[in-house]
């Protein structure tokens, strides 16, 4: 910018060169991007500004908007339900993300051993990823219910070993409802992690394993010092992606437990939905959405900063 204004001759030369290069392409190009830019302008850019504006008002969907400054943000900091939803979502993030990465990596390592039937296994593990979540959640309501098949199985095992065992009521207790959501999410998403990891493992050059083998490395050492560092960019990518996904959990708790019992599985996004579309608190709901954005953004920046400590990039 500065350089251009200081040197107008240079700027106009650049501009002229740009236009001389197939001048018809200029307006033609704008026609090509027009539909996309129009849509983005309305549904993304205008919506962003509107969201910020609404978050500064007290508005019940009908009637006038009252400007309240940062009051929505301030009162959220003292809102016990927001704190609860935040805590629940943090629980989802710290359970789902590591479990999914570890399970996905273990399964991918197992499938990468050149076993027969690898494609079939991969197909089966990926199946839940493409299923309609609501349908999956309904089956989990049946499976995990207080007298469902899983409870049967647990008591059957109890009888077998001569000890009274029983499955706690996962869906109906404030203590375990979050675990029910975690189970559903793991079932649904682990296949995705597996497929991405498997592709990364296929990219590790065989020579490195052979070299490590010649040097007498055990299989654990090869895993620890060859595989894990080489696929760390993938781990980093999955880590960011799954964390963002866990922050945004909605349908899983919403269908499985309705966020209950007693809001024990309520997620931030359901809190946004409830505030906006059940209680018509548009300002409050928008403010929660911006908090969510700041959490995700801050987290991503933080990870980006720390990645140099553990992410290994091959240098050209």
């Amino acid at each position: 910018m500065e350089a251009m204004s200081r040197n107008p001759a240079h700027a106009s030369l650049r501009l002229r060169r740009l236009f001389r290069w197939r001048p018809h392409q200029q307006w033609e190009a704008y026609l090509f991007i027009l539909p996309s830019v129009l849509g983005f302008s309305v549904f993304v850019f205008a919506a962003l500004i509107a969201s910020l504006g609404i978050s500064l008002t007290d508005w019940g969907l009908v009637g006038p908007k009252a400007f309240v400054g940062l009051d929505n943000y301030r009162s959220l900091l003292r809102d016990p339900v927001f704190a609860l939803a935040l805590g629940n979502t943090a629980f989802y993030v710290v359970t789902i993300v590591p479990l999914q990465l570890i399970l996905g990596l273990l399964l991918a390592l197992a499938l990468n051993q050149g076993l027969r039937g690898r494609e079939t296994f991969r197909m089966i593990y990926f199946l839940p990823v493409v299923t309609t979540l609501v349908a999956g959640a309904i089956v989990f309501r049946l499976l995990l219910g207080s007298n469902g098949p899983l409870a049967d199985a647990v008591s059957a095992v109890g009888r077998l070993i001569g000890q009274p065992l029983s499955l706690p009521d996962l869906l109906g207790s404030t203590r375990y409802s979050k675990w029910a959501v975690v189970l559903l999410t793991l079932w649904k998403n682990t296949g995705f992690t597996l497929v991405v990891y498997l592709a990364a493992l296929q990219g590790v050059p065989q020579e490195l394993y052979d070299a490590a083998h010649v040097d007498g490395a055990t299989s654990w050492q090869r895993l620890r010092h060859v595989t894990v560092p080489l696929i760390s960019p993938t781990t980093f990518f999955l880590f960011i992606l799954q964390t963002i996904g866990a922050f945004q959990l909605f349908a899983e708790p919403f269908v499985l437990t309705r966020g209950g019992p007693a809001q024990s599985s309520l997620s931030i996004v359901q809190h946004i939905y409830d505030s906006a579309f059940r209680f018509a608190l548009m300002g409050k709901a928008s403010a929660i959405a911006w908090f969510l954005f700041f959490f995700i953004f801050g987290f991503t920046l933080l990870q980006n900063y720390f990645q140099r400590r553990w992410v290994h990039y091959e240098t050209e």
């Binding site: 200029q26 993304v44 049946l142 299989s219 090869r222």
Partner: protein, 282 residues
């Protein structure tokens, strides 16, 4: 000595192999169990599930016909199909037009605009949820197909993936076509798009799957039975018939069938897509 299989990282003995297989089969059973339970419960009267007795002579398809009677499932499927197909086709057309300009045309502001597109990938959709709901309402589109389709048409990720792919196609093809007097529109339609089938297929299955299964947005912008999609219809169904497991499972089977058919037909494309988008992070 055992021959080294091309992708094997360790030389596994027979016992280790057996252990791995057992673990993988057990894991598969856990993954498949929900589907099995769904199908079994949907094929017997509810009493069978409550008593955990499934005599073969009681197998019935009655649950399916009853499900269709108590909720307008046919309508939901039709809505889902209309929305998913239209949104997928239009999204790819719009994204590929923009991607063509970003990849192969020169215009003022091109690179900054592309960066802005990429930056929108950082924004969680929950932020635009409420304004978009208000926009839809202001346009008079609440509870209509437009509400379900139009906001889904503008994909930064789709534009990005298409642009990256278009960049790999040799520019000489465009030059030669231009010498022959072809317009940009023609180059886009007759040269670039046909060359890009792999990435278009990936985007198509992903977009189809995402719109078919979408939950939050249809929940917010539809209110009548005639506009509901399957996921929304199913979730209301749970509220009304929370103990009629046979009907709920029949409904779930019906909801899953179309997307599972697409999965089995286009399985390779799905996996490619995950690795393509997944490797985008490298």
């Amino acid at each position: 000595m055992q021959a080294l299989s091309p992708r094997s990282t360790t030389r596994l003995g027979q016992p280790a192999r057996g252990l791995l297989y057992t673990a993988l089969v057990l894991g598969s059973l856990i993954m498949l169990a929900p589907f099995l339970v769904m199908v079994v419960v949907s094929l017997w009267p509810n009493q069978a599930f409550l008593e955990r007795r499934f005599p073969l002579e009681q197998i019935t398809l009655a649950n399916f016909s009853e499900t269709f009677q108590v909720i307008p499932f046919g309508r939901y499927i039709l809505n889902n199909a209309i929305v998913a197909v239209t949104a997928t086709v239009l999204q790819i057309l719009i994204s590929s037009l923009a991607a063509f300009a970003f990849a192969r045309l020169r215009f003022w502001g091109r690179d900054s605009l592309f960066l802005i597109y990429l930056a929108t990938l950082m924004i969680p959709s929950q932020i635009t949820l409420i304004p978009n709901f208000l926009i839809i309402r202001a346009l008079g589109w609440y509870d209509s197909y437009q509400a379900l389709i139009v906001p889904a048409l503008f994909s930064a990720l789709g534009t990005f993936l298409l642009r990256q792919y278009f960049k790999t196609i040799p520019l000489e093809l465009d030059e030669a076509a231009r010498m022959d007097g072809a317009s940009s529109l023609r180059i886009w339609w007759q040269i670039i798009l046909p060359q890009s089938w792999p990435v278009i297929a990936v985007l198509a299955v992903f977009s189809f799957q995402a719109t078919w299964n979408d939950f939050l947005w249809p929940l917010v912008v539809t209110s009548s039975d005639s506009m509901r999609t399957i996921p929304i219809g199913l979730s209301y169904f749970v509220g009304q018939y929370s103990t009629a497991w046979n009907l709920l499972m029949a409904g779930s089977v019906i909801a899953l069938l179309p997307v599972l058919i697409v999965y089995f037909v286009a399985q390779k494309t799905f996996i490619q897509g995950v690795t393509l988008t997944g490797m985008g992070g490298r």
